[in-house]
Amino acid sequence: MATDVHGPVSPQAATPSPVTTQAVRVEGLTRSFDGRPVIDKLQLDVQQGEFVALLGRSGCGKSTLLRILAGLDRDIEGTVLVPRRKAVAFQAPRLMPWKKVWRNVLLGLPGKPERAVAERALAEVGLGDHSDAWPKTLSGGEAQRASLARALVREPDLLLLDEPFGALDALTRIKAQRLVGELWQRRGCAVLLVTHDVEEAVLLADRVLVMDDGVIAHEQHIDLNRPRDITDPRFAELRAGLLERLGVDTAAEAA
């Protein structure tokens, strides 16, 4: 466990009474596949309303951790505490192709929610005029936003994002990242974003965690003002530091 904290502690983390403000508490979590631990006695705390990005090389177990937090993988040892209201957006939108977009958004909600509820959520992600469309007619970015609306309509206390921008083209990704940043600020829910894009992590997160060998190997608080500017030298510095942590040497690139 090499958890070293760089820079000043952010205001969220500094708030007293940590028990009541936690959105996620994970202690001694172990998940093995065929006897080989992918997650090994992992500790993780996420505060309410905190945006945490989880970085790591592919195969390091970050997606497994997200699936565990989403309750999709119960083959675990250790303590995992998550809010009752949580929602996931996956890398693929995973919309049910046989349901119109608005029915996809309402799928699984308790009771008989009205269509207006879905329309509001869709309007929030800028898809107000697509609520009656079949998923097959949406572009990749639109489908991903519909998936986001489906997550948000659950009014989650914890939003889990599994590389949601990974399959989008560069321009659409920038817009989607901005959208997620705005939605998070408006909703105030805790967000755990699993990504392999360091720039994305620094752009959006309060705190960036680097996962390696089944544990959180590194923690980096990002205390840049929002909205963040990727041309800010401090941004580049943080990015370079994290990339180095991930085993990518940026010295040559920066020169």
Binding site: A70, V88, R94, M96, W98, L107
Partner: protein, 298 residues
């Protein structure tokens, strides 16, 4: 650079003009011809497609009529198209065809209904539950290999010679294709969508209703189409035995009197009914599967 590329490229086509030096090669390149790319619409022939498609059958029909009227094709081998049309009209006019069709359609409808219920029911049990798969799938797969037409004698012993054995044969024929396709459809539902449904908080029944069953629908429709085809086939078999009504009965009667015209009319009716059934399933597919993102032809 061009020299190193020359031997493999130019050795074959440049057999005769050996005098052509590399210099003339560059001259050729400066004076090449432009080839116009003709849009496909202007290249198309004037004759409309439907006319071209109907020409073949019409020629065939005319040939048939010609052979019949010249006496090369006698009526106890095959009646002429004109005669068939007249007999067909007579059968319609007397109401014999209508009542036969009603009887036959009823048999298919009941058999199809029973077969659909049984086939889909079994597929749901073995598709949705692992216990069901262990208990149901093996016997069904075993019975499937028995040719259902071969069971006609057994069915006559069991159910007598009334409507029951006929409906039973159709039911049996319909059950298996539906079972196989619905079962495959259920097991073929994208596990990522199931996971997404779980993450959205769907209950077990909710997953079945909103994810598994709609996901299995395309396969189920394929199964239904197969089943309909088999239903007509089973009907033809079933009606050849001890029938006292229906299209098959008409045919058997016509056979005894060597009425090839009536037999052909009955065959045409079978074909027409099959076409109608296919049209119904296509319409159903268009309504139920409009969400499908697959290629639907140009």
């Amino acid at each position: 650079m061009s020299i190193s590329h020359a031997p493999p490229d130019s050795s074959e086509p440049d057999i005769s003009p050996i005098s052509g030096s590399p210099k003339t090669d560059t001259d050729d390149r400066s004076s090449f011809d432009l080839v116009p790319l003709v849009p496909t619409s202007s290249r198309r022939t004037r004759v409309p497609r439907w006319l071209r498609r109907t020409t073949g059958p019409l020629v065939l029909l005319a040939l048939w009529q010609l052979l019949s009227s010249t006496g090369m094709l006698t009526s106890d081998v095959l009646a002429s198209p004109g005669r068939i049309a007249r007999v067909g009209w007579d059968l319609i006019d007397s109401g014999a065809l209508a009542s036969a069709m009603t009887t036959s359609l009823q048999r298919v409808a009941i058999g199809l209904l029973l077969g659909t219920v049984i086939g889909t029911g079994l597929a749901l049990v073995s598709g949705l539950f692992r216990v069901g798969e262990d208990l149901v799938d093996a016997p069904v797969q075993m019975l499937r290999t028995v040719p259902f037409v071969g069971l006609i004698p057994l069915f006559i012993i069991w159910f007598g010679i009334g409507e029951a054995p006929k409906v039973a044969i159709i039911t049996l024929g319909v059950t298996f294709p539906l079972y196989l396709n619905v079962y495959a459809g259920i097991r073929g539902v994208d596990s990522q969508l199931i996971e997404a449904g779980e993450s959205l908080g769907l209950s077990r029944w909710g997953l079945v209703r909103h994810v598994v069953l709609p996901g299995a629908l395309p396969n189920a429709m394929t199964g239904l189409r197969y089943s309909l085809g088999i239903a007509w086939l089973a009907l033809v078999f079933a009606e050849q035995i001890n029938a006292d009504a229906g299209i098959g009965f008409l045919m058997v009667q016509a056979r005894d009197f060597l009425q090839t015209d009536v037999i052909v009319v009955c065959l045409i009716v079978y074909a027409f009914l099959g076409l109608l059934a296919d049209f119904l399933v296509r319409t159903l597919e268009r309504l139920l599967l409009q969400w499908r993102p697959t290629f639907t032809g140009r």
